[in-house]
């Protein structure tokens, strides 16, 4: 670990950057290391007198960091991942954070680098080529305007088909859609918080990586032993060994709906009567053609799908994942799975985050339902709950900012504010919440409210403990949830900094991570040190957010979830009881009003 490519697009200058050994141990890699780089950048900007609260996310002063972790590309189970972070998200105005699988992370390592720092902005479209330790900036005028599939194909043809991997943006990123993503390997996305739009603002179309550099492992023999043990656990675990490989993530549709926490029609209801029609079982029965695993993944949850005929025909596509099925399906009241597959495909092709896209369309549909958006603005588009064709059309309109699409491209919060009903945006810190109604699962209430990046399910995936566990904790109680969520959030920082898939945590715990990471890094890591590192990473992210001006005022949920009871189903009558958990959570974190106290920062060496 420790070689970053530092690119200044304004100057057209490329150099190497090597973080110090003590920084590597403090922040591990991936998300943690990216945050330490962003913190240094933020402090430098502040020294120059830049007001971070007012800094435009599309300004050249914003910094974007791609980072792999010590596990990436090693053969640690499911280690084909990388993390992307930026000082400011165009969607949330806070720290941007996204994670992706596929092949790109390992390929960056094979190219000889652990990460890429992007500063400044180019005048004309460029892409970065990193091949076997040699990096260069290249003209991207030929691929600017292309979708992500064409961009990937063209760059692969130029740089060597099977031997390179491409991470790029589509038209949505170029058009500064606030929730544009970065797509690598055609269907894998660094999805959330609009990191693709930041690339667009910097006129950076893609990063191509490939090569045959070796990934360093400090104790290869010990690693092989631990790896074998970990692989056995992953294979023998009923979720990672059977459930996820067989059905993929969309299998969650029915179980989440059966618990009465499947948000429907912009969280107006929590049970979708047509859930079966959009379920993982239905996907497998009608549209699944095969599986596709990310690099080095023994789980292989990825789906390859095909819609053979009809208005939503797609010859080859991947997914849709559970969150996408929900966002483009139940949240929009859409029960046609072929339309959901088509919309999901368009999101990959155009470079859009499926969760924010679906949730923003759902918000628009409720604004139409409540007559806040008038017919003249819709120009004939029937943006009504359940209208599958309108949902699909809204996707490409958003990517190209056409008609109502220009409003949708701003995300649900700005959309709802523009039409006079900000409370109808189902978002936290302006990031749209995913597919679990937190009113019926209190750990998710606390996680959604306190997740640093905003309405995020994977910061502290309490669903694993409250719904999917063999012996679940009571989902309706608030007791014990502060500790549960804090532990999950800290551990997830380790997962995203080691850069492995969150799904392996169904089979591997912190002690397994400590053993594996010790053999890779050569450090004698304990479970306690790792969890402390996770806490440090969570806190440095919060520290940067505080510098931007975000504090506990934004650790909350939309009023609908705090005040309106779930209308029907198994969770009927419940609301999100945030007040019953937040003070204890702050106490455990050593925070006051969402701000880490001095003694906590000192304890963590921040």
């Amino acid at each position: 670990m420790g070689r970053f490519l530092d690119v200044n697009l304004t100057k057209g200058k490329l150099s190497d950057y090597a973080p110090k050994e003590n920084i590597l141990r403090m922040f591990l890699g991936g998300k943690g290391l990216a945050l330490s780089i962003i913190m240094e950048h933020a402090r430098n900007l502040a020294k120059k007198g830049v007001n971070l609260a007012e800094l435009d996310p599309f300004s050249p002063d914003n910094v974007l960091v791609f980072a792999t972790g010590p596990a990436t590309g090693t053969g640690f189970p499911s280690s084909g991942r990388y993390h992307v972070m930026a000082l400011k998200s165009p969607l949330t105005g806070s720290v941007a954070s996204a994670n992706s699988g596929g092949e790109w992370g390992p390929y960056l390592k094979f190219a000889g680098y652990d990460g890429v720092i992007i500063r400044g902005a180019a005048e004309k479209p460029v892409y970065i080529s990193i091949m076997d330790g040699k990096a260069e900036l290249r003209d991207a005028s030929r691929i600017w305007g292309r979708n992500t599939f064409d961009t990937t194909t063209m760059l692969k043809e130029e740089h060597g088909k099977g031997d390179v991997s491409v991470a790029c943006i589509g038209p949505a990123g170029e058009n500064l859609v606030r929730f544009a993503n970065i797509i690598n390997d055609e269907h894998r996305a660094a999805g959330r918080t609009g990191v693709g739009a930041i690339m667009g603002s910097k006129k950076l179309k893609a990063i191509v990586a490939g090569g045959s550099q070796r990934v360093t492992i400090a104790k290869p023999e010990d690693f092989k032993r631990e790896q074998k043990d970990a692989l056995k656990k992953v294979k023998e675990n009923s979720i990672t060994g059977q459930g996820l490989p067989t059905y993929g993530t969309a299998i969650l549709v029915n179980i989440i709906d059966a618990h009465g926490i499947f948000p429907t029609r912009n969280f107006q209801e929590s049970v979708f009567p047509e859930a079966e029609a959009i379920s993982g079982e239905k996907l497998a029965e009608k549209y699944l053609t095969k599986r596709r695993a990310c690099w080095g993944c023994p789980i292989g949850c990825g789906r390859v799908s095909r819609v053979p005929s009809g208005p939503f025909a797609v010859e080859y596509t991947e997914g849709p994942e559970y969150e996408s099925v929900w966002a483009l399906g139940a949240d929009c009241g859409v029960k046609e799975l072929d339309a959901i597959i088509k919309a999901n495909h368009l999101c990959d092709e155009l470079g859009l985050d499926t969760i924010s896209m679906g949730a923003t369309i759902a918000c628009a549909m409720e604004l139409v339902q409540r007559k806040k958006i008038g017919a003249e603005r819709l120009q004939g588009l029937k943006l009504e709950f359940g209208n599958a064709a309108a949902m699909v059309e809204a996707v490409w309109r958003t990517a190209y900012r056409v008609g109502i699409g220009a409003d949708l491209a701003e995300g649900s919060k700005r959309l709802a504010e523009k039409y006079g009903a900000p409370e109808l945006s189902m978002s936290v810190k302006k990031l749209e919440m995913p597919a679990y109604d937190p009113r019926g699962v209190q750990g998710m209430t606390l996680n959604y409210a306190t997740a640093n990046r905003g309405g995020c399910h994977v910061s502290g995936y309490a669903i694993a403990s409250e719904v999917l566990a063999p012996q679940p904790v009571d989902r309706f109680t608030t007791e014990g949830k502060a500790q549960l969520v804090k532990t999950l959030q800290d551990f997830t920082c380790i997962v995203n900094s080691a850069c492995v898939c969150l799904f392996v945590t169904f089979a591997l715990g912190p002690s397994d991570f400590a053993k594996l990471l010790s053999t890779i890094t050569g450090w004698d890591l304990t479970e306690n040190e790792l969890l402390k590192t996770g806490e440090r990473i969570y806190n440095i992210e919060r520290q940067i957010m505080n510098m931007i001006g975000i504090d506990g005022k934004e650790d909350t949920l939309p009023p609908r979830l705090l005040k309106e009871k779930i209308r029907d189903g198994p969770a009927k009558g419940h609301v999100s009881k945030l007040d019953a958990m937040l003070p204890e959570y702050y106490e455990l974190r050593g925070w006051a009003n969402g701000v880490p106290k001095e003694e906590k920062l000192k304890e963590l060496g921040l």
Partner: protein
Amino acid sequence: MMLNGCYVMVKVKVRFYASLRDKYKVKEVEVDCDGGLESFMDSLDSKVKGARRDLFDNEKKSVKENMIFLLNGINVKNMKEPIKFKDGDLVSIFPPIAGG
């Protein structure tokens, strides 16, 4: 269940999901039972061969640890009282699954 000192049979709807659906080749069945879990399992087994063995822990007289068993959307492992089925109840049974 007991009503005026007599056992009354109740009808319970049962839905299977994921690999259980593939294994049993059925999505939904209706079973009659006396309201207790063991009676429910026996009745279910008579309609869906192997269900009792897959779902019921004979020693603990409870639902097997690895199964997610919802009674009207509530996980029975979170219930403080022993399971008592009522007429018209809905049972949803899932093998270990995940996503996100």
